[in-house]
């Protein structure tokens, strides 16, 4: 799991909200659907009193930390297949009783909700047609794209796995999607715009950043930036730390404060 950063206990929600007025990247609550993908949040606190303690060593040598594990893209796709979609079967079938749940008896032309993996399997055998989710219409996507372009700091709410769901639908059920090419290009554009926002947000990271909060970022996007962002934050943390010690050395009387701070950081998590 994530072995980059942990929070100090005293980092209360109040501080997040107070500092959020001055934050750079959008300081909002994170959006977390799945427990497997770690959450990232970014706030720029004005008070320098709180320091994160990285679980791995506080150094750029943490770059070679093998615990910065990555879910590979097919794995994220696999997780995305648990999302429910609506299908319209064209056969009659009794209910499927599986470990993850029961999927009700299927009657021809009666819509029902099943997980995406089941929908793809049925579609491959020609037993159903998949109904596109309502967020995947040309109008909605155009609207999302417009708002994405207008707000340079925020991400628009989109389904957590929109990239994977759209890819799977295009692969298996492209005849069920209206205006396939339009939808496809719109999703590509949305993805590009969002990714550029992530990049430009990354430019603003300084040593003071304790955490990065990215609201409404989707699973695949999180997966792409995760190793880079964690390493960057570790590196910045490492580089800012000795500076503080140096500044305190120059103005010698603050020495004891440095000591208490470091012992506080060593508190076991």
């Amino acid at each position: 799991m994530m072995s980059g950063l942990t929070y100090d206990d005293s980092f209360s929600d109040q501080n997040i909200l107070r500092a959020s007025g001055l934050g750079e990247l959008q300081p909002c609550l994170g959006h977390n659907n799945s427990a497997e993908l770690p959450q990232m949040s970014s706030v720029n606190p004005t008070s320098s009193a709180r320091r994160l303690k990285p679980l791995s060593l506080a150094s750029m040598a943490g770059q070679s930390d093998p615990q910065l594990s990555l879910l590979s893209a097919p794995e994220v796709e696999f997780l995305a297949e648990d999302e429910m979609v609506e299908i319209v079967p064209n056969i009659k079938m009794e209910s499927l009783n599986m470990i993850c749940g029961d999927f009700g008896p299927f009657f021809p032309q009666i819509a029902c909700k099943v997980p995406l993996w089941l929908a793809a399997a049925l579609k491959k055998r020609g037993k159903c047609t998949i109904r596109t989710p309502e967020w995947m219409s040309v109008d909605k996507l155009t609207q999302v794209l417009e708002t994405e372009r207008e707000t340079p700091r925020e991400f628009q709410p989109l389904p957590f796995h929109y990239i994977e769901i759209s890819k799977l639908l295009f692969d298996h059920a492209h005849d069920d999607v209206q205006d396939t090419y339009m939808v496809r290009s719109l999703i590509e554009d949305i993805r590009d715009v969002r990714f550029h926002k992530v990049e430009s947000g990354l430019e603003n990271i300084s040593g003071r950043t304790h955490a990065v909060k990215l609201k409404n970022l989707s699973a695949m996007e999180v997966n792409i930036v995760r190793p880079f962002m964690m390493r960057t934050l570790q590196a910045f943390y490492k580089h800012d730390n000795p500076q503080i010690i140096q500044q305190h050395n120059i103005s010698g009387r603050k020495q004891p404060q440095v000591l208490t701070r470091s012992t506080r950081n060593l508190r076991p998590r």
Binding site: S56, L57, S59, M60, A61, G62, Q63, S64, L68, L70, S72, A73, P74, E77, K167, D171, F195, E199, L202, E203, S206, G207, M220, N223, I224, V225, R226, P227, F228, R231, T232, A235, F236, K238, H239, D240, P242, Q243, I245, Q246, N249, I250
Partner: protein
């Protein structure tokens, strides 16, 4: 100690540093190539690996010189344009070494200098790494220090994996064991009519 098992840390500490011996040392004449007898005199300038220099400094036996990569000349180079400086030539573990040296040397400005260098190079690296084109990378990579390379590779590999996934293809891969052709020793007979 968390640093103990880290591979890069071990390699980094093996870098050589110039030190000046504050005391005479007997029996370690190997360290000083210019000594005639088997000892190092006080005031001799020797190159030692960092881990040794660190320990001896704690015992007040040596004093450490600032390595060449932090000299004024390099600093001016870096201040001019941080992104273009070839750090690998100077010292592949630039940042690590700098951070370790900070408490040992009397120069107080190293920390902030490292920080500024890293910040400016980081911005450059950010843009390059995510575009992930095959052409830009080889020109840029030799200039990075080891730590920066890891950062770079992390983002690039995840980007490439994503692109590969995006391009599609079967999710099942053929196991590499099956790829090898085997020679059958059984001779084939012509089929009888």
């Amino acid at each position: 100690m968390p640093d103990y098992y880290d591979m890069d840390d071990i390699i980094m500490e093996d870098q050589h540093i110039q030190v000046i011996f504050q005391v005479g040392a007997n029996g370690v004449g190997l360290l000083d190539p210019g000594s005639e007898n088997n000892s190092v005199e006080k005031g001799a300038k020797v190159e030692l690996p960092f881990w040794l220099a660190h320990e001896l400094q704690l015992r007040q036996a040596v004093s450490i010189y600032l390595p060449a990569c932090f000299s004024q000349k390099t600093r001016n180079e870096i201040k001019a344009d941080a992104a273009c400086v070839n750090l690998k030539v100077h010292c592949p573990y630039f940042y690590e070494l700098g951070c370790k040296i900070v408490p040992l040397v009397s120069d107080k400005t190293i920390g902030s200098f490292l920080y500024e260098t890293f910040t400016s190079r980081y911005l450059e690296m950010l843009s390059k790494s995510h575009s992930a084109s095959v052409l830009t990378a080889p020109k840029f990579l030799p200039r990075l220090s080891k730590e920066e390379i890891q950062l770079f590779e992390a983002s690039r590999s995840s980007m490439m994996a994503f692109k590969k996934w995006r391009a599609g293809g079967s999710r099942l891969e053929k196991a590499p064991v099956l790829g090898r052709k085997r020679k059958t020793t059984i001779p084939t007979f012509p089929s009888s009519p």
